[in-house]
Symmetry: C2
Subunit: 346 residues, 2 copies
């Protein structure tokens, strides 16, 4: 029996696509219904991974499900996303993935070669990320009830020594680092669906960010205040969540944020902000100012980190909000993602 | 790069419902495709949970997905199954669940009250089982693409002291114990779908079996050779897998196997064997003969274990098979489940 009734603030009558988009509606669902009921001993809002004690030693655990459509796209596939996404959630929580378990929900009629390709993709991604798949489960539902396949992945990992991150440790003056160009994954998925009628050689950025996180940790370990991989909802949503959690303002410089021309063009066509587009191989870090240049140099020197940038800084004001100085000299408010312009991106 | 190419023996052209039913087709898929490709360092066929070393101490990890239809049924619901199923997979591997993470795949249009009911069901089941839910993930797919909701659950647990089980440790003369009546869950789901046009007060047996496993461990710890919760594919499939894994014969006495009249009646009507019907709150154990009576007494003395029985024993022959002496004095071969007579039971 519970001593106190949890507060259920979620009042939407039914689930909509936006509740899965990673933006405002997702946060309302998670914080208004799921966390109050399910997580009895809240340690604040759920982060990318939970850290807990097991047999007297700390470990990190995380889980994610993947419903991306189509299953394969330039640069990756659902199986690769499932492994990299879990490795990355652990990495940005300050942990090194050790073991994964996966569940497959398959649709009757799925060609065996499609399944084989995704199992191989998981295997290859796990090998590249240095993680072992130690177990799993497979279910089958009727044709039409799972859009090919869905994957859930759960990973446990060891804490990276000297890294202890928390939004509450963020201070005014801290710098915001970004590992590379944004929006590649989301726009690749959109183009792969043929919805824009555009051709391009854009690829998803799906990869393990652990090597970059380790390079950062080696250069600036205790100076890292916070990390996040800006997947659903993009950089804008991740930084708004940080701003709310630490109660400070985040100031971005638009001209420092790397965005490929194809991504920028597609966003202009659709009226989307690249800051709202999902990434699967980038991460954000907030670092104490005196370590920012060393952190940037370490990221740029690591393979795949050549395009890293310091994209902004933390200030006292405006508390709980994100601002961006534009290319034209103005300043705009960067909000969380609202609605779901790009459904089923991961 | 891999040094040796894994052997892919799975040759079915596409996925069918039977591949998810837990019987022969499931084993062919898992052992013929998924394990060879995905689990590089096989420690034999995947058990209920993997045991591994983390920070120098052992832990158990398991995962399962749940696609049961309907979402709610007499005695339980998908949320309760997701928690109990994961706790039970850990328990029969000889581990005490400590922490769970869950993923929800929701369908657009799902009433919020349905979701709330399942989140509450998970929360209640977790509290009863003494396990904490420490994280999760939520995705939304279009209406019609997830049949309401699917849940995946992953749990980690601590090894129960003095229990070390492996099919290879099973010896001729060992006794087979069963915790209670079989088939309640599968037949409850069938009746809940209205497919039989029968009314009954049968309920799913979904529960945590950890208290029973702990009672057994206290009475017969090192004498426990093997445990399994006979979910999809039922007792017949679990014992056939054991027979194959240990290369011995398993002899059951039909008159010792507890089956409720409703379950027996429904099975006769459908031409099904209660030994093939899924359970969600029972477990099988193989125990050294000198501890069998003490083990049975301990199970029967524990809450919910009053109907436990010794249902058979292990012999040298027939190697790799399960036999059952019938009520009429004959003997029949008990095979694994073939096909999928009861789809989406968990």
């Amino acid at each position: 029996m519970q001593a106190t009734m949890p507060k259920i603030r979620f009042r939407d009558p039914q689930i909509e696509m936006a509740h899965g988009a990673g933006g405002k509606a997702s946060r309302r669902l998670i914080e208004g219904l799921i966390v109050p009921l399910l997580c009895d001993s809240p340690t604040g809002p759920l982060g990318d991974a939970a850290h807990l004690m097991m047999n007297g030693a700390p470990l990190a655990i995380t889980t994610d499900s993947f419903v991306v459509k189509p299953l394969r796209f330039p640069g990756g596939s659902i199986g690769e996303l499932a492994v990299n996404g879990t490795v990355n959630d652990l990495a940005v929580s300050g942990a090194r993935a050790q073991s994964l378990v996966v569940t497959l929900i398959l649709e009757a009629g799925l060609p065996a070669e499609t399944l084989e390709a995704e199992v191989r993709a998981m295997s290859d991604a796990a090998r590249r990320a240095g993680v072992a798949v130690v177990g799993g489960d497979t279910k089958v539902v009727e044709h039409g009830k799972a859009d090919g396949m869905y994957i859930s992945s759960c990973g446990i990992g060891r804490i990276i020594e000297g890294v202890d991150i928390a939004p509450q440790s963020v201070r005014p003056g801290d710098r915001v680092l970004l590992s590379g160009p944004i929006g590649d994954h989301g726009i690749t998925i959109l183009l792969a669906r043929g919805e824009l009628g555009m051709e391009s050689d854009l690829c998803s950025d799906t990869r393990s960010v652990l090597p970059l996180v380790e390079a950062l940790a080696a250069a600036a370990g205790p100076a890292i205040r916070w990390m996040r991989d800006p997947t659903r909802g993009g950089v804008a949503t991740s930084l708004n969540e940080l701003a709310l959690d630490c109660g400070l303002g985040i100031h971005l410089s638009e001209n420092r944020i790397p965005v490929r021309d194809t991504v920028r063009g597609a966003c202009e066509l659709l009226g989307l902000d690249p800051l709202h587009i999902a990434n699967e191989g980038q991460f954000l870090a907030v670092v104490a100012p005196e370590f920012a240049e060393a952190a940037l140099a370490a990221l740029r020197a690591a393979p795949g980190g050549g395009a890293a940038e310091i994209i902004g800084e933390v200030r006292e004001q405006p508390a709980g909000a994100v601002l961006c100085s534009t290319l034209y000299g103005g300043t705009r408010v960067v909000d969380m993602l609202v609605g779901d312009p790009l459904p089923r991106i991961c």
